[in-house]
Symmetry: D2
Subunit: 179 residues, 4 copies
């Protein structure tokens, strides 16, 4: 959820205010797992964002970010999808805002399968088919497509942080992907 610095600089809360709030309240997030589907709606590929930190460590994650004050969930989803996948990804936001799961990221490891050292974040998670061209817009990011089988492999899951490997397995289970 590294978008925070950018958002807080331009957004509703100053950095200081965000820091203070994070120590007091759970922060609401939306998270989207981009997928490619065939005409039967079957997931053929899962898209994972790639980031390489200055030390050269590879990590993979989903589209995610905070829900702003007075922003609807659908608008937040669309905003973060555009931010991470570019303007022509053509995401298909689900018809229902019921998330397929809720991931509770705790600052203390081990409370739940999900961990975020900066905050207590509660994330509504969606699988979102995208049919257009994905162009990650932030320098350090690329988007890589994996088959469900590849995505469920240990080598990929190990590159996901904060429990997102478990979340990816939940998503694959939800769509009935053979892994």
């Amino acid at each position: 959820m590294s978008d925070i610095a950018i958002e807080s600089a331009t957004g509703w809360l100053s950095d200081d205010e965000l820091e203070t709030t994070r120590e007091r309240m759970p922060i609401l997030y939306v998270e989207a797992i981009p997928v490619r589907v065939d005409e039967h709606g079957e997931v053929t590929h899962v898209g994972l964002l790639l980031r390489i930190d200055p030390e050269g460590t590879v990590s993979r994650s989903f589209v995610s970010g905070r829900v702003m004050h007075h922003e609807q969930l659908r608008a937040a989803l669309l905003r973060h999808l555009e931010k991470d996948l570019g303007p022509v990804a053509l995401p298909r936001i689900p018809v229902s805002t019921q998330p397929f799961t809720v991931a509770e990221y705790f600052p203390t490891p081990g409370v739940t399968p999900f961990h975020d050292p900066r905050q207590h974040a509660v994330s509504l998670v969606y699988v979102v088919p995208v049919s257009g061209d994905c162009r990650p817009r932030q320098d350090a990011l690329d988007l890589v497509w994996f088959t469900p089988g590849e995505a469920a492999s240990a080598s990929v899951l190990d590159e996901m942080q904060g429990g997102r490997g478990a979340l990816l397995r939940q998503a694959l289970a939800h769509v009935g992907a053979a892994t």
Copy 2:
């Protein structure tokens, strides 16, 4: 579910066999409620099939039909969508085959909210966005688009049979439509 006569004539069971089986077993159906969505995934219109019987009675219904032997749910959904909406409707079958509800149609009225005089049918129901051009292919049928508010009006609900008015309300509740 008037597609049965057609299906049984061309399909896996003879008419006689289907009649016999219907007296012995629940018959598995899929049902799709076609919708138009905006870029936020919000439902703007619901599509209802229109039929006028020889006496001039108007009835409205969804896309529906049997699941055949050795046919997957996704394939059955796509087949019935093409049958009822034509080849260029561009339906977006959901990424998960989990239905948003299961409608149990009983031959005896009053057992459940759903009634089918011909059989005990168990129907897995999905909301399916369609983005293309819908051309109902069977003579007596037209497809009419309603806003969620119009679809939830008494005048429309009263034209739905077998409890499908209740099913439509369930679908609108599922997608969070303001009605």
Copy 3:
């Protein structure tokens, strides 16, 4: 969501801090609709909390309240159920924390079907069977059980505020109640 005053007095945020935060961030809530079920799991009754304000206006609502910092959703649900229904209600928290719907309460009326003049609240909503004895513990509250048909009647729905009538209808649709 009148529990706020009480919570903030004893809880993680001072009144002032909560006020400030409410102007900046969506606030995360859980909401529970208590039900009685028969041995088939079918909902026989829906429990609505009753409140009469100083002017004598009757309003009905669900169990609800904020999720605290470093509190799990399941714990928040249980805490609010005990607060509103007493210690021997024996609620059965669902096996999955996937809510059946997410209600977005906006301070501006009309943005969504849900309205809360004090804040932007995002509420994860659950249907929770309770099998024990419910004893609302706060003076102005009683709990009244309605059949699904009674709960869906205009006279009851009209006594629900902030769009909770629509939420109740969604819950009844979700459990397949004949109304």
Copy 4:
């Protein structure tokens, strides 16, 4: 789904009729995964039925069986739970008949992750908390409780047939179990 022989002997279809129908139609099943939960609704144990065939091969499975003609899903679930777990298991049938997943068992291996050599079965799958005493009633069966972590281990999953290991993983993902 070895309950078929018994059911067909006492039930709505003769053995011959059932055989004929199985070659023509998908057969509707319900499947229940029994769990123990704590007061927060968190799954602490998963119950798997144990069977040892004459050759000494161990296999593990869920509660499952056909839906009969004119039988509601809730009634079918309760009937099969009583048949497999005994009369005092005190199962808590879910408030909604929406299954958390639909498993499509095909007679041809590899079409879906699920395989049943005898038939095309479509199974609506539920996680069902049981709070009472489970006494499997058929000679060859025992019920063994596993923690989610144990249930997800290769040694247990390998003893499940027809793809039920994948189904168990889907259930654990649905309830958010740390595995």
